[in-house]
Symmetry: C2
Amino acid sequence: MTNLVRLQQALGHEFSDPQLLVLALTHRSAGRSNNERLEFLGDSIVNHIIAEALFEQFPASREGDMSRMRSALVRGATLAEIARELQLGDYLLLGPGERRSGGHRRASILADALEAVAGAILLDNGFERCRSCVRRWFGPRLEQLTTRAAAKDAKTQLQEHQQGRGNPLPDYELVSVQGEDHNQQFRVLCRITRPALVAEGAGSSRRKAEQAAARTALQRLADHGG
Amino acid sequence: MTNLVRLQQALGHEFSDPQLLVLALTHRSAGRSNNERLEFLGDSIVNHIIAEALFEQFPASREGDMSRMRSALVRGATLAEIARELQLGDYLLLGPGERRSGGHRRASILADALEAVAGAILLDNGFERCRSCVRRWFGPRLEQLTTRAAAKDAKTQLQEHQQGRGNPLPDYELVSVQGEDHNQQFRVLCRITRPALVAEGAGSSRRKAEQAAARTALQRLADHGG
């Protein structure tokens, strides 16, 4: 039980009732009293906490995009990765057969145990604490999503945005080129007919100017509830 | 907007920001700014609230049974029934095409809107309020589950309990019959080998005595974390 101190630090929650944590770590191979019920509870709360985090983090994303991101985050393989980062395997209680066959490294057992731990935290301390722990566990992966979304170029994003809503695609129009050969400034208009919107962009190449115009258009769409 | 007073009474929540409720009632056919994102959020919170309610209500049920009950409760057809009970259809904002073709009575539109309303309550007032509303909406259906579980006879329940855990089935043994022909008292033992347990039951027929013994056995199993 001493070891559980280190695990609780990694999880971000010190249990009022450490027996709940022990139950969450108990695989069904270890006994009749095991983590299956906690896993049921934990699965649903992890799902919701991730849905809520994505809802906040991507105010302009559509339901379908958020669903896809959530599926990738809460699937077994990802949960098992996070469980490994927290070294959950070291604390699992397994039956002799599972222990011999390396059950403490098995992805499905790790993923289920992580969900059960979330359920145990929910019972031990309520929704707020559970949310803060789960968001911390998934933190780097949630941040990566933002980086990846930002890395997708603005023209592609704008095109997908319009296609996703069955709206016409944007037109780009070069309106001026100024300056000398090696220091030119391009100005481009990005025009959408539904919703009606014209956004301007400038840059040192036509491509950069178009990207800038698309970025402005996306921002305006997001500001209007996209 | 006046009408929304009546709807909010039915829902059990008066919105600080009524625009959230309007958004939740706005089908995608009615405009770019619609309830799809709120539906994503609401779907996950309704799922969790029902999971939590079942977890509390059925302390002896296994994960698989709770999953089945939850699926039945949160499927589209059930959500649409609840939406109809709340008369949600009267308040939906639909595009002209959907309106003409009876979209306000369509199950999928009603179900999605109910989820979106749950998401809107979550944003407007937080988890606790959302939970109390959703539990109220599902209240009669949650109660029916308990009644149905209780109505299932004890011998069947005990058999399913053992099968679900891969344990041997119980044996029933008639140990005595006392009294006169029309006032007999039967005594029966219910015997389980794993977990080792013997329970006794009595009744005016052999069948009743067996049911009584099975009920006692189930109770003891539940007391020991079943």
